[in-house]
Protein backbone atom coordinates (compact mmCIF):
# COMPACT_ATOMS: atom_id res chain seq x y z
CA UNK A 1 0.00 0.00 0.00
CA UNK A 2 1.12 3.41 -0.88
CA UNK A 3 0.08 6.60 0.91
CA UNK A 4 0.69 9.87 -0.84
CA UNK A 5 0.59 12.74 1.62
CA UNK A 6 -1.13 15.90 0.53
CA UNK A 7 -0.96 19.37 2.02
CA UNK A 8 -4.37 19.52 3.69
CA UNK A 9 -6.26 17.44 6.21
CA UNK A 10 -8.43 15.91 3.53
CA UNK A 11 -8.03 12.19 3.03
CA UNK A 12 -9.56 9.67 0.64
CA UNK A 13 -9.22 5.96 0.12
CA UNK A 14 -8.61 4.88 -3.46
CA UNK A 15 -8.32 1.50 -5.15
CA UNK A 16 -9.32 -0.78 -8.00
CA UNK A 17 -11.91 -3.55 -7.68
CA UNK A 18 -11.03 -7.09 -6.66
CA UNK A 19 -10.67 -8.86 -10.00
CA UNK A 20 -9.31 -5.84 -11.85
CA UNK A 21 -5.66 -5.15 -12.64
CA UNK A 22 -6.04 -1.91 -14.67
CA UNK A 23 -3.56 0.45 -13.05
CA UNK A 24 -3.12 3.50 -15.26
CA UNK A 25 -6.16 5.51 -14.16
CA UNK A 26 -5.39 4.57 -10.57
CA UNK A 27 -1.85 6.02 -10.82
CA UNK A 28 -3.14 9.19 -12.50
CA UNK A 29 -6.08 9.75 -10.13
CA UNK A 30 -3.77 9.39 -7.13
CA UNK A 31 -1.44 12.00 -8.61
CA UNK A 32 -4.31 14.30 -9.52
CA UNK A 33 -5.90 14.20 -6.06
CA UNK A 34 -2.57 14.76 -4.45
CA UNK A 35 -2.04 17.84 -6.58
CA UNK A 36 -5.35 19.06 -5.17
CA UNK A 37 -4.02 18.63 -1.65
CA UNK A 38 -5.57 15.30 -0.67
CA UNK A 39 -3.82 12.60 1.25
CA UNK A 40 -4.47 9.48 -0.83
CA UNK A 41 -4.44 6.05 0.74
CA UNK A 42 -4.00 4.11 -2.46
CA UNK A 43 -4.77 0.42 -2.13
CA UNK A 44 -3.92 -0.15 -5.80
CA UNK A 45 -5.33 -2.82 -8.12
CA UNK A 46 -7.09 -6.10 -7.24
CA UNK A 47 -8.45 -4.88 -3.91
CA UNK A 48 -11.24 -6.86 -2.24
CA UNK A 49 -14.03 -4.73 -0.76
CA UNK A 50 -13.11 -5.95 2.73
CA UNK A 51 -9.69 -4.34 2.29
CA UNK A 52 -11.39 -1.00 1.58
CA UNK A 53 -13.38 -1.47 4.80
CA UNK A 54 -10.21 -2.28 6.74
CA UNK A 55 -8.52 0.82 5.34
CA UNK A 56 -11.47 2.94 6.44
CA UNK A 57 -11.20 1.49 9.94
CA UNK A 58 -7.55 2.53 9.97
CA UNK A 59 -8.31 5.98 8.52
CA UNK A 60 -11.69 6.95 9.94
CA UNK A 61 -11.34 10.55 8.78
CA UNK A 62 -11.49 9.49 5.12
CA UNK A 63 -14.13 11.50 3.26
CA UNK A 64 -14.96 8.90 0.67
CA UNK A 65 -13.99 5.55 -0.76
CA UNK A 66 -13.12 5.75 -4.46
CA UNK A 67 -13.24 2.54 -6.46
CA UNK A 68 -12.28 2.05 -10.08
CA UNK A 69 -13.49 -0.87 -12.16
CA UNK A 70 -12.46 -1.13 -15.80
CA UNK A 71 -12.72 -4.80 -16.63
CA UNK A 72 -16.53 -5.10 -16.57
CA UNK A 73 -16.71 -7.05 -13.30
CA UNK A 74 -17.92 -4.19 -11.06
CA UNK A 75 -21.10 -5.91 -9.96
CA UNK A 76 -19.51 -9.20 -8.96
CA UNK A 77 -16.56 -7.44 -7.33
CA UNK A 78 -18.80 -5.21 -5.20
CA UNK A 79 -21.29 -7.85 -4.17
CA UNK A 80 -20.18 -7.78 -0.53
CA UNK A 81 -21.18 -4.12 -0.13
CA UNK A 82 -24.66 -4.68 1.39
CA UNK A 83 -23.22 -7.22 3.81
CA UNK A 84 -20.40 -4.91 4.92
CA UNK A 85 -22.77 -1.97 5.29
CA UNK A 86 -25.18 -4.11 7.32
CA UNK A 87 -22.26 -4.89 9.62
CA UNK A 88 -21.75 -1.15 10.12
CA UNK A 89 -18.71 -0.90 7.88
CA UNK A 90 -17.83 1.22 4.82
CA UNK A 91 -20.09 4.00 6.13
CA UNK A 92 -18.73 6.63 3.74
CA UNK A 93 -19.80 7.65 0.28
CA UNK A 94 -18.65 4.97 -2.15
CA UNK A 95 -17.76 6.57 -5.48
CA UNK A 96 -17.40 4.22 -8.44
CA UNK A 97 -15.91 5.01 -11.84
CA UNK A 98 -14.67 3.25 -14.96
CA UNK A 99 -16.07 0.76 -17.43
CA UNK A 100 -18.90 -0.74 -15.45
CA UNK A 101 -20.27 -3.73 -17.33
CA UNK A 102 -19.12 -6.39 -19.77
CA UNK A 103 -19.72 -5.40 -23.38
CA UNK A 104 -19.70 -2.21 -25.38
CA UNK A 105 -22.82 -0.67 -23.88
CA UNK A 106 -23.46 0.05 -20.24
CA UNK A 107 -27.21 0.32 -19.75
CA UNK A 108 -29.23 2.13 -17.09
CA UNK A 109 -30.12 -1.29 -15.72
CA UNK A 110 -26.42 -2.06 -15.26
CA UNK A 111 -25.96 1.16 -13.30
CA UNK A 112 -29.11 0.56 -11.26
CA UNK A 113 -27.81 -2.87 -10.28
CA UNK A 114 -24.74 -1.15 -8.84
CA UNK A 115 -26.78 1.51 -7.02
CA UNK A 116 -28.90 -1.28 -5.57
CA UNK A 117 -25.76 -2.70 -4.00
CA UNK A 118 -25.30 0.64 -2.24
CA UNK A 119 -22.88 2.47 -4.54
CA UNK A 120 -23.53 6.14 -3.77
CA UNK A 121 -22.05 7.92 -6.78
CA UNK A 122 -21.11 6.78 -10.26
CA UNK A 123 -18.84 8.95 -12.40
CA UNK A 124 -18.09 8.22 -16.06
CA UNK A 125 -14.60 9.67 -15.76
CA UNK A 126 -12.32 11.10 -13.13
CA UNK A 127 -12.58 14.69 -14.34
CA UNK A 128 -15.52 15.43 -12.02
CA UNK A 129 -14.00 13.75 -8.99
CA UNK A 130 -12.66 16.77 -7.09
CA UNK A 131 -15.90 18.68 -7.63
CA UNK A 132 -17.90 15.76 -6.29
CA UNK A 133 -15.61 15.44 -3.26
CA UNK A 134 -15.96 19.18 -2.57
CA UNK A 135 -19.75 18.91 -2.72
CA UNK A 136 -19.79 15.88 -0.43
CA UNK A 137 -17.46 17.68 1.96
CA UNK A 138 -19.68 20.78 2.03
CA UNK A 139 -22.78 18.66 2.59
CA UNK A 140 -21.08 16.80 5.44
CA UNK A 141 -20.18 20.09 7.14
CA UNK A 142 -23.70 21.45 6.94
CA UNK A 143 -25.50 21.24 10.30
CA UNK A 144 -27.98 18.38 10.50
CA UNK A 145 -31.46 19.65 9.64
CA UNK A 146 -33.42 20.41 12.83
CA UNK A 147 -36.63 18.48 13.26
CA UNK A 148 -39.54 19.47 15.52
Amino acid sequence: MDTLHGRSERLVILGVAESDAHAVANHLIAMQLREHGFTVVNLGVCTPLADFADALDRHPRAEAVLIGSLNGHAHQDLRALPELRAAGRLRRPVVLGGNLSVGSRTTDADLQRLRDLGVDHILPDAGGLVLLLDMLDAAAREPEPQHG
Binding site: D2, S19, D20, A21, H22, A23, V24, H27, L28, M31, Q32, E35, G44, V45, C46, T47, N71, G72, H73, H75, Q76, N99, L100, S101, V102, G103, S104, R105, T106, P124, D125, A126, G127
Partner: protein, 470 residues
Protein backbone atom coordinates in the same frame (compact mmCIF):
# COMPACT_ATOMS: atom_id res chain seq x y z
CA UNK B 1 -0.78 -30.22 -4.89
CA UNK B 2 -0.34 -32.75 -7.66
CA UNK B 3 2.60 -33.16 -9.97
CA UNK B 4 2.14 -33.35 -13.74
CA UNK B 5 5.63 -34.15 -15.01
CA UNK B 6 7.10 -31.34 -12.93
CA UNK B 7 4.11 -28.99 -13.28
CA UNK B 8 2.68 -28.53 -9.80
CA UNK B 9 -1.07 -28.02 -9.98
CA UNK B 10 -3.95 -28.21 -7.54
CA UNK B 11 -5.24 -31.65 -6.67
CA UNK B 12 -8.69 -30.62 -7.83
CA UNK B 13 -7.55 -29.65 -11.30
CA UNK B 14 -5.35 -32.72 -11.55
CA UNK B 15 -8.16 -35.09 -10.58
CA UNK B 16 -10.27 -33.94 -13.52
CA UNK B 17 -7.52 -34.33 -16.15
CA UNK B 18 -7.15 -37.22 -18.61
CA UNK B 19 -4.06 -39.45 -18.58
CA UNK B 20 -0.89 -37.64 -19.59
CA UNK B 21 -0.40 -40.09 -22.48
CA UNK B 22 -3.85 -39.24 -23.72
CA UNK B 23 -3.02 -35.52 -23.60
CA UNK B 24 0.24 -36.00 -25.49
CA UNK B 25 -1.42 -38.21 -28.11
CA UNK B 26 -4.23 -35.71 -28.56
CA UNK B 27 -1.80 -32.80 -28.93
CA UNK B 28 0.27 -34.81 -31.42
CA UNK B 29 -2.84 -35.59 -33.45
CA UNK B 30 -3.80 -31.93 -33.92
CA UNK B 31 -3.72 -31.42 -37.69
CA UNK B 32 -2.39 -27.84 -37.52
CA UNK B 33 -0.38 -26.75 -34.48
CA UNK B 34 0.26 -23.02 -34.00
CA UNK B 35 3.97 -23.34 -34.75
CA UNK B 36 3.21 -24.45 -38.31
CA UNK B 37 0.98 -21.45 -38.95
CA UNK B 38 3.76 -19.18 -37.70
CA UNK B 39 6.40 -20.89 -39.85
CA UNK B 40 4.25 -20.53 -42.95
CA UNK B 41 3.56 -16.86 -42.27
CA UNK B 42 7.23 -16.24 -41.70
CA UNK B 43 8.17 -17.97 -44.94
CA UNK B 44 5.58 -15.98 -46.86
CA UNK B 45 6.73 -12.73 -45.19
CA UNK B 46 3.11 -11.87 -44.52
CA UNK B 47 1.75 -11.98 -40.97
CA UNK B 48 -1.35 -13.93 -40.04
CA UNK B 49 -4.03 -12.18 -38.01
CA UNK B 50 -5.33 -13.29 -34.63
CA UNK B 51 -8.19 -11.67 -32.70
CA UNK B 52 -8.61 -11.77 -28.93
CA UNK B 53 -11.90 -13.41 -28.03
CA UNK B 54 -13.53 -14.94 -25.02
CA UNK B 55 -17.05 -15.03 -23.58
CA UNK B 56 -18.32 -16.83 -20.51
CA UNK B 57 -20.81 -19.37 -21.87
CA UNK B 58 -19.59 -22.48 -23.70
CA UNK B 59 -22.20 -22.42 -26.45
CA UNK B 60 -21.57 -18.72 -26.97
CA UNK B 61 -17.81 -19.35 -27.17
CA UNK B 62 -18.29 -22.04 -29.82
CA UNK B 63 -20.48 -19.66 -31.79
CA UNK B 64 -17.96 -16.85 -31.45
CA UNK B 65 -15.05 -18.97 -32.69
CA UNK B 66 -17.05 -20.20 -35.68
CA UNK B 67 -18.13 -16.70 -36.62
CA UNK B 68 -14.61 -15.34 -36.30
CA UNK B 69 -13.13 -18.19 -38.34
CA UNK B 70 -15.05 -16.96 -41.35
CA UNK B 71 -13.04 -13.72 -41.20
CA UNK B 72 -9.89 -15.67 -42.08
CA UNK B 73 -7.64 -15.48 -39.00
CA UNK B 74 -4.49 -17.64 -38.87
CA UNK B 75 -4.94 -18.43 -35.19
CA UNK B 76 -7.88 -17.90 -32.83
CA UNK B 77 -7.78 -17.03 -29.13
CA UNK B 78 -9.41 -18.32 -26.03
CA UNK B 79 -9.27 -15.21 -23.85
CA UNK B 80 -9.75 -16.11 -20.20
CA UNK B 81 -11.87 -14.19 -17.66
CA UNK B 82 -10.29 -12.16 -14.83
CA UNK B 83 -11.43 -14.47 -12.01
CA UNK B 84 -9.76 -17.50 -13.57
CA UNK B 85 -6.66 -15.40 -14.27
CA UNK B 86 -6.37 -14.67 -10.56
CA UNK B 87 -7.00 -18.32 -9.62
CA UNK B 88 -10.46 -17.59 -8.23
CA UNK B 89 -11.94 -20.66 -9.89
CA UNK B 90 -14.86 -20.77 -7.44
CA UNK B 91 -15.97 -17.22 -8.26
CA UNK B 92 -15.70 -17.99 -11.97
CA UNK B 93 -17.79 -21.09 -11.58
CA UNK B 94 -20.44 -19.36 -9.43
CA UNK B 95 -20.74 -16.57 -11.99
CA UNK B 96 -20.87 -19.07 -14.83
CA UNK B 97 -23.91 -20.64 -13.20
CA UNK B 98 -25.56 -17.33 -12.33
CA UNK B 99 -24.82 -14.95 -15.20
CA UNK B 100 -22.28 -16.20 -17.75
CA UNK B 101 -22.55 -12.97 -19.73
CA UNK B 102 -21.02 -11.14 -16.76
CA UNK B 103 -17.71 -12.90 -17.31
CA UNK B 104 -15.13 -10.94 -19.32
CA UNK B 105 -13.66 -14.11 -20.81
CA UNK B 106 -13.96 -17.90 -21.08
CA UNK B 107 -13.36 -19.72 -17.76
CA UNK B 108 -11.51 -22.71 -19.25
CA UNK B 109 -10.57 -24.35 -15.95
CA UNK B 110 -14.22 -24.31 -14.90
CA UNK B 111 -15.54 -25.56 -18.23
CA UNK B 112 -12.88 -28.27 -18.24
CA UNK B 113 -10.74 -29.96 -20.88
CA UNK B 114 -13.54 -31.89 -22.56
CA UNK B 115 -15.30 -28.67 -23.52
CA UNK B 116 -11.88 -27.28 -24.38
CA UNK B 117 -11.52 -30.08 -26.95
CA UNK B 118 -14.89 -29.10 -28.39
CA UNK B 119 -13.47 -25.62 -28.96
CA UNK B 120 -10.32 -27.04 -30.55
CA UNK B 121 -12.34 -29.23 -32.87
CA UNK B 122 -14.87 -26.55 -33.78
CA UNK B 123 -12.43 -24.66 -35.99
CA UNK B 124 -9.66 -25.59 -38.44
CA UNK B 125 -7.16 -23.02 -37.16
CA UNK B 126 -5.16 -23.56 -33.97
CA UNK B 127 -6.08 -21.90 -30.70
CA UNK B 128 -4.01 -19.92 -28.24
CA UNK B 129 -4.92 -19.34 -24.60
CA UNK B 130 -4.46 -15.67 -23.71
CA UNK B 131 -4.87 -14.79 -20.08
CA UNK B 132 -2.70 -12.75 -17.70
CA UNK B 133 -2.17 -15.11 -14.79
CA UNK B 134 0.93 -14.60 -12.70
CA UNK B 135 0.64 -18.33 -12.04
CA UNK B 136 -0.88 -20.04 -15.08
CA UNK B 137 -0.08 -23.65 -14.17
CA UNK B 138 -3.56 -25.11 -13.64
CA UNK B 139 -4.82 -23.31 -16.70
CA UNK B 140 -1.88 -24.64 -18.74
CA UNK B 141 -2.62 -28.22 -17.72
CA UNK B 142 -6.24 -27.87 -18.84
CA UNK B 143 -5.22 -26.07 -22.05
CA UNK B 144 -2.84 -28.89 -23.00
CA UNK B 145 -5.48 -31.53 -22.33
CA UNK B 146 -7.81 -29.50 -24.55
CA UNK B 147 -5.31 -29.75 -27.41
CA UNK B 148 -4.32 -26.09 -27.40
CA UNK B 149 -0.90 -25.59 -29.00
CA UNK B 150 -0.10 -22.02 -28.06
CA UNK B 151 0.06 -20.47 -24.59
CA UNK B 152 0.75 -16.85 -23.71
CA UNK B 153 2.58 -15.51 -20.68
CA UNK B 154 5.76 -15.32 -18.66
CA UNK B 155 6.99 -14.78 -15.14
CA UNK B 156 7.45 -11.02 -15.51
CA UNK B 157 5.00 -9.94 -18.22
CA UNK B 158 2.08 -11.84 -16.73
CA UNK B 159 2.87 -10.75 -13.22
CA UNK B 160 3.61 -7.01 -13.06
CA UNK B 161 0.70 -5.80 -15.24
CA UNK B 162 -1.81 -8.29 -13.89
CA UNK B 163 -1.61 -8.60 -10.13
CA UNK B 164 -0.93 -6.57 -7.02
CA UNK B 165 1.33 -8.59 -4.80
CA UNK B 166 2.66 -11.80 -6.27
CA UNK B 167 6.44 -11.97 -5.68
CA UNK B 168 8.45 -12.31 -8.89
CA UNK B 169 10.20 -15.33 -7.39
CA UNK B 170 6.82 -17.09 -7.31
CA UNK B 171 5.68 -16.20 -10.82
CA UNK B 172 9.10 -16.92 -12.36
CA UNK B 173 9.12 -20.40 -10.79
CA UNK B 174 5.53 -21.08 -11.87
CA UNK B 175 6.38 -20.15 -15.46
CA UNK B 176 9.62 -22.13 -15.27
CA UNK B 177 7.48 -25.23 -14.70
CA UNK B 178 5.27 -24.32 -17.66
CA UNK B 179 8.34 -23.89 -19.86
CA UNK B 180 9.90 -27.11 -18.59
CA UNK B 181 6.78 -29.05 -19.53
CA UNK B 182 6.98 -27.51 -23.01
CA UNK B 183 10.54 -28.79 -23.09
CA UNK B 184 9.36 -32.29 -22.16
CA UNK B 185 6.69 -32.13 -24.86
CA UNK B 186 9.18 -30.88 -27.46
CA UNK B 187 11.35 -33.91 -26.72
CA UNK B 188 8.41 -36.13 -27.70
CA UNK B 189 7.76 -34.14 -30.85
CA UNK B 190 4.98 -31.78 -29.68
CA UNK B 191 5.96 -28.14 -30.11
CA UNK B 192 3.96 -25.68 -28.04
CA UNK B 193 4.26 -22.04 -29.08
CA UNK B 194 4.96 -19.84 -26.06
CA UNK B 195 4.06 -16.19 -26.59
CA UNK B 196 5.73 -13.59 -24.35
CA UNK B 197 3.60 -10.60 -23.38
CA UNK B 198 5.90 -7.70 -24.18
CA UNK B 199 2.89 -5.42 -24.06
CA UNK B 200 3.23 -5.15 -20.27
CA UNK B 201 1.02 -2.31 -18.98
CA UNK B 202 0.23 -1.34 -22.57
CA UNK B 203 0.23 2.41 -22.03
CA UNK B 204 3.39 4.28 -23.14
CA UNK B 205 5.69 1.29 -22.81
CA UNK B 206 9.14 2.22 -24.15
CA UNK B 207 10.25 -0.40 -26.74
CA UNK B 208 13.44 -1.28 -24.89
CA UNK B 209 11.48 -1.96 -21.70
CA UNK B 210 9.17 -4.33 -23.56
CA UNK B 211 12.02 -6.11 -25.32
CA UNK B 212 14.25 -6.32 -22.25
CA UNK B 213 11.53 -8.18 -20.37
CA UNK B 214 10.96 -10.44 -23.38
CA UNK B 215 14.67 -11.23 -23.67
CA UNK B 216 14.88 -12.22 -20.00
CA UNK B 217 11.80 -14.41 -20.25
CA UNK B 218 12.99 -15.90 -23.54
CA UNK B 219 16.37 -16.83 -22.06
CA UNK B 220 14.60 -18.45 -19.09
CA UNK B 221 12.20 -20.34 -21.38
CA UNK B 222 14.94 -21.55 -23.72
CA UNK B 223 16.91 -22.91 -20.76
CA UNK B 224 13.91 -25.10 -19.91
CA UNK B 225 13.75 -26.47 -23.42
CA UNK B 226 11.07 -24.31 -25.07
CA UNK B 227 11.55 -24.57 -28.84
CA UNK B 228 9.08 -22.00 -30.20
CA UNK B 229 8.79 -18.44 -28.89
CA UNK B 230 6.56 -15.66 -30.11
CA UNK B 231 7.85 -12.33 -28.87
CA UNK B 232 5.06 -9.79 -28.75
CA UNK B 233 5.72 -6.07 -28.96
CA UNK B 234 2.95 -3.49 -28.58
CA UNK B 235 2.45 -0.92 -31.34
CA UNK B 236 3.45 2.36 -29.75
CA UNK B 237 2.26 4.81 -32.37
CA UNK B 238 5.37 6.06 -34.19
CA UNK B 239 5.85 3.87 -37.30
CA UNK B 240 9.66 3.97 -37.56
CA UNK B 241 10.03 3.09 -33.91
CA UNK B 242 7.50 0.27 -34.23
CA UNK B 243 9.15 -1.25 -37.31
CA UNK B 244 12.55 -0.96 -35.64
CA UNK B 245 11.34 -2.68 -32.48
CA UNK B 246 9.88 -5.61 -34.43
CA UNK B 247 13.13 -6.01 -36.34
CA UNK B 248 15.07 -5.86 -33.11
CA UNK B 249 13.23 -8.99 -31.96
CA UNK B 250 15.20 -11.01 -34.51
CA UNK B 251 18.57 -9.43 -33.86
CA UNK B 252 18.12 -9.77 -30.10
CA UNK B 253 17.10 -13.42 -30.51
CA UNK B 254 20.27 -14.04 -32.54
CA UNK B 255 22.33 -12.39 -29.82
CA UNK B 256 20.80 -13.94 -26.71
CA UNK B 257 19.25 -17.28 -27.74
CA UNK B 258 20.34 -20.64 -29.05
CA UNK B 259 19.64 -20.77 -32.81
CA UNK B 260 17.69 -24.01 -32.26
CA UNK B 261 14.90 -21.93 -30.74
CA UNK B 262 12.46 -20.64 -33.34
CA UNK B 263 11.53 -17.02 -32.62
CA UNK B 264 8.63 -15.19 -34.23
CA UNK B 265 8.09 -11.44 -33.84
CA UNK B 266 4.46 -10.59 -33.10
CA UNK B 267 2.80 -7.18 -33.19
CA UNK B 268 0.05 -6.40 -30.71
CA UNK B 269 -1.98 -3.70 -32.40
CA UNK B 270 -2.12 -0.48 -30.40
CA UNK B 271 -2.83 -1.49 -26.81
CA UNK B 272 -3.35 1.93 -25.23
CA UNK B 273 -6.33 4.26 -25.14
CA UNK B 274 -8.05 3.56 -28.42
CA UNK B 275 -9.72 6.06 -30.78
CA UNK B 276 -13.48 6.28 -30.43
CA UNK B 277 -14.82 6.74 -33.94
CA UNK B 278 -15.16 3.63 -36.09
CA UNK B 279 -13.34 5.41 -38.93
CA UNK B 280 -10.21 6.35 -37.04
CA UNK B 281 -10.16 3.16 -35.00
CA UNK B 282 -10.40 1.24 -38.28
CA UNK B 283 -7.50 3.20 -39.75
CA UNK B 284 -5.31 2.40 -36.75
CA UNK B 285 -6.22 -1.29 -37.06
CA UNK B 286 -5.30 -1.21 -40.76
CA UNK B 287 -2.03 0.56 -40.01
CA UNK B 288 -1.21 -2.11 -37.44
CA UNK B 289 -1.46 -4.79 -40.11
CA UNK B 290 0.84 -2.82 -42.39
CA UNK B 291 3.42 -2.15 -39.67
CA UNK B 292 3.42 -5.81 -38.72
CA UNK B 293 4.32 -6.75 -42.28
CA UNK B 294 6.94 -4.04 -42.65
CA UNK B 295 8.52 -5.05 -39.34
CA UNK B 296 8.66 -8.71 -40.38
CA UNK B 297 6.17 -9.99 -37.82
CA UNK B 298 4.78 -13.50 -38.29
CA UNK B 299 1.53 -12.55 -36.55
CA UNK B 300 -0.49 -9.49 -35.69
CA UNK B 301 -3.07 -9.49 -32.91
CA UNK B 302 -5.96 -7.35 -34.07
CA UNK B 303 -8.15 -4.80 -32.29
CA UNK B 304 -11.71 -3.71 -32.94
CA UNK B 305 -13.55 -0.43 -33.42
CA UNK B 306 -15.30 -1.13 -30.12
CA UNK B 307 -12.02 -1.27 -28.16
CA UNK B 308 -12.64 2.07 -26.45
CA UNK B 309 -16.03 0.94 -25.20
CA UNK B 310 -15.95 -2.63 -24.03
CA UNK B 311 -15.59 -6.25 -25.03
CA UNK B 312 -16.51 -6.29 -28.72
CA UNK B 313 -19.39 -8.18 -30.27
CA UNK B 314 -18.56 -10.91 -32.79
CA UNK B 315 -19.30 -8.78 -35.85
CA UNK B 316 -16.97 -5.96 -34.76
CA UNK B 317 -14.29 -8.48 -33.85
CA UNK B 318 -14.53 -10.19 -37.25
CA UNK B 319 -14.35 -6.80 -38.95
CA UNK B 320 -11.17 -6.06 -36.98
CA UNK B 321 -9.58 -9.27 -38.29
CA UNK B 322 -10.46 -8.34 -41.86
CA UNK B 323 -9.20 -4.78 -41.52
CA UNK B 324 -5.88 -5.89 -40.03
CA UNK B 325 -5.54 -8.46 -42.84
CA UNK B 326 -6.09 -5.71 -45.42
CA UNK B 327 -3.22 -3.85 -43.79
CA UNK B 328 -0.96 -6.85 -44.47
CA UNK B 329 -2.17 -7.26 -48.06
CA UNK B 330 -0.20 -6.66 -51.25
CA UNK B 331 -2.22 -3.58 -52.14
CA UNK B 332 0.06 -1.79 -49.68
CA UNK B 333 3.28 -3.42 -50.86
CA UNK B 334 4.33 -0.16 -52.54
CA UNK B 335 4.69 1.59 -49.18
CA UNK B 336 8.25 2.77 -48.47
CA UNK B 337 9.67 4.50 -45.43
CA UNK B 338 12.90 6.04 -44.26
CA UNK B 339 15.21 3.02 -43.88
CA UNK B 340 18.01 4.97 -42.23
CA UNK B 341 15.67 6.33 -39.60
CA UNK B 342 14.49 2.80 -38.81
CA UNK B 343 18.07 1.55 -38.67
CA UNK B 344 19.01 4.33 -36.27
CA UNK B 345 16.04 3.57 -34.00
CA UNK B 346 16.87 -0.12 -34.07
CA UNK B 347 20.45 0.56 -33.09
CA UNK B 348 19.40 2.55 -30.03
CA UNK B 349 16.68 0.10 -29.02
CA UNK B 350 19.19 -2.75 -29.08
CA UNK B 351 21.68 -0.70 -27.13
CA UNK B 352 19.12 0.18 -24.45
CA UNK B 353 18.04 -3.45 -24.18
CA UNK B 354 21.64 -4.56 -23.76
CA UNK B 355 22.22 -1.98 -21.03
CA UNK B 356 19.14 -3.28 -19.21
CA UNK B 357 19.62 -7.03 -19.55
CA UNK B 358 23.37 -7.63 -19.69
CA UNK B 359 23.98 -6.92 -15.99
CA UNK B 360 21.07 -9.21 -15.06
CA UNK B 361 22.18 -12.02 -17.35
CA UNK B 362 25.72 -11.76 -16.00
CA UNK B 363 24.46 -12.98 -12.65
CA UNK B 364 24.58 -16.75 -12.17
CA UNK B 365 21.10 -16.89 -10.66
CA UNK B 366 18.76 -15.40 -13.24
CA UNK B 367 15.57 -15.36 -11.17
CA UNK B 368 17.19 -13.81 -8.12
CA UNK B 369 18.88 -11.26 -10.36
CA UNK B 370 15.57 -10.31 -12.00
CA UNK B 371 13.88 -9.95 -8.64
CA UNK B 372 16.59 -7.75 -7.13
CA UNK B 373 16.84 -5.66 -10.27
CA UNK B 374 13.12 -4.85 -10.07
CA UNK B 375 13.36 -4.22 -6.32
CA UNK B 376 16.20 -1.77 -6.92
CA UNK B 377 14.67 -0.19 -10.00
CA UNK B 378 17.45 -1.38 -12.35
CA UNK B 379 14.57 -3.01 -14.21
CA UNK B 380 11.27 -1.15 -14.13
CA UNK B 381 7.98 -0.67 -15.96
CA UNK B 382 5.68 2.35 -16.09
CA UNK B 383 2.23 2.23 -14.41
CA UNK B 384 2.88 -1.08 -12.69
CA UNK B 385 -0.14 -2.87 -11.25
CA UNK B 386 2.21 -4.73 -8.94
CA UNK B 387 4.04 -3.41 -5.91
CA UNK B 388 7.04 -5.46 -7.05
CA UNK B 389 8.09 -2.93 -9.66
CA UNK B 390 8.84 0.62 -8.64
CA UNK B 391 7.30 2.45 -11.61
CA UNK B 392 9.74 5.27 -11.24
CA UNK B 393 10.25 5.46 -15.00
CA UNK B 394 8.24 8.20 -16.65
CA UNK B 395 7.68 7.74 -20.37
CA UNK B 396 6.84 10.61 -22.70
CA UNK B 397 6.20 10.97 -26.41
CA UNK B 398 8.62 13.04 -28.45
CA UNK B 399 7.42 15.47 -31.10
CA UNK B 400 6.94 12.66 -33.62
CA UNK B 401 5.03 10.50 -31.15
CA UNK B 402 7.85 8.04 -30.40
CA UNK B 403 8.03 6.83 -26.80
CA UNK B 404 11.10 7.94 -24.83
CA UNK B 405 12.27 7.95 -21.23
CA UNK B 406 11.56 11.35 -19.63
CA UNK B 407 12.78 9.95 -16.33
CA UNK B 408 14.57 6.62 -16.33
CA UNK B 409 14.52 6.26 -12.54
CA UNK B 410 17.31 3.88 -11.57
CA UNK B 411 17.67 2.15 -14.94
CA UNK B 412 21.38 1.61 -15.60
CA UNK B 413 21.52 3.60 -18.84
CA UNK B 414 24.76 5.00 -20.23
CA UNK B 415 25.25 8.74 -20.58
CA UNK B 416 24.82 8.42 -24.34
CA UNK B 417 21.39 6.83 -23.97
CA UNK B 418 20.27 9.36 -21.39
CA UNK B 419 21.49 12.24 -23.54
CA UNK B 420 19.62 11.00 -26.57
CA UNK B 421 16.34 10.53 -24.70
CA UNK B 422 16.63 13.98 -23.13
CA UNK B 423 17.48 15.64 -26.43
CA UNK B 424 14.53 14.06 -28.20
CA UNK B 425 12.16 15.22 -25.48
CA UNK B 426 13.39 18.79 -25.28
CA UNK B 427 10.41 21.12 -25.61
CA UNK B 428 10.47 23.50 -28.54
CA UNK B 429 11.31 27.14 -27.71
CA UNK B 430 8.37 28.99 -26.24
CA UNK B 431 6.29 25.86 -25.54
CA UNK B 432 3.74 26.26 -22.77
CA UNK B 433 4.97 24.51 -19.62
CA UNK B 434 2.73 21.67 -18.46
CA UNK B 435 2.52 19.65 -15.30
CA UNK B 436 3.78 16.09 -15.50
CA UNK B 437 0.21 14.75 -15.18
CA UNK B 438 -1.08 16.96 -17.98
CA UNK B 439 1.78 15.93 -20.20
CA UNK B 440 1.35 12.22 -19.41
CA UNK B 441 -2.40 12.42 -19.97
CA UNK B 442 -1.95 14.09 -23.34
CA UNK B 443 0.56 11.40 -24.36
CA UNK B 444 -1.80 8.63 -23.23
CA UNK B 445 -4.62 10.21 -25.24
CA UNK B 446 -2.38 10.64 -28.29
CA UNK B 447 -4.74 9.04 -30.80
CA UNK B 448 -7.83 10.70 -29.32
CA UNK B 449 -6.21 14.06 -30.01
CA UNK B 450 -5.29 13.14 -33.57
CA UNK B 451 -8.79 11.80 -34.09
CA UNK B 452 -10.43 14.95 -32.77
CA UNK B 453 -8.62 17.03 -35.37
CA UNK B 454 -10.27 15.12 -38.24
CA UNK B 455 -13.78 15.67 -39.60
CA UNK B 456 -15.22 12.36 -38.37
CA UNK B 457 -18.63 11.24 -37.24
CA UNK B 458 -19.34 11.50 -33.53
CA UNK B 459 -18.68 8.27 -31.64
CA UNK B 460 -21.59 5.91 -31.55
CA UNK B 461 -23.63 4.94 -28.45
CA UNK B 462 -21.12 4.51 -25.71
CA UNK B 463 -20.32 4.06 -22.08
CA UNK B 464 -19.70 7.76 -21.90
CA UNK B 465 -20.22 10.03 -24.81
CA UNK B 466 -17.19 12.23 -24.49
CA UNK B 467 -13.66 10.92 -24.46
CA UNK B 468 -12.41 10.61 -20.89
CA UNK B 469 -10.27 13.59 -19.92
CA UNK B 470 -8.66 14.77 -16.77
Amino acid sequence: MADLHGLEISARTAAALPDWDDTVAYLASRPLPAVEVLRAADAAARPVVQPRCGVGGHGEMLGLLRELESAGPGILSVTIDSHTRLLRFDTASALLRRRPADLNGYPLVTHGWQRGRELTEAVAVPLEVRHGSPDGRDLFAVALAAGITSYEGGGIGYNLPYSKDVPLAHSLRAWQQVDALCGTLAASGVVVDRELFGTLTAVLVPPSTSLAVAVLEAVAAAREGVRCLSVAYPQGGEPHQDIAALRAVRSLAARYLDPAVEVFPVLHEFMGVFPRTPEYAGLLILQGGLLARLGGAAKVVSKTVQEAYGIPDAAANAAGVRTAALGTSDLLDFVRYDESRVAEEQHWIEREVAELVDPVLADGDLFAAVETAFAEGRLDIPFSASVHARSRVVPRRDRDGAIRYADSGSLPFSRAVLRRNAALLRDPEGARPRSLIDAATADIHYFLDKESRLPLRAPYGANSDTPPRY
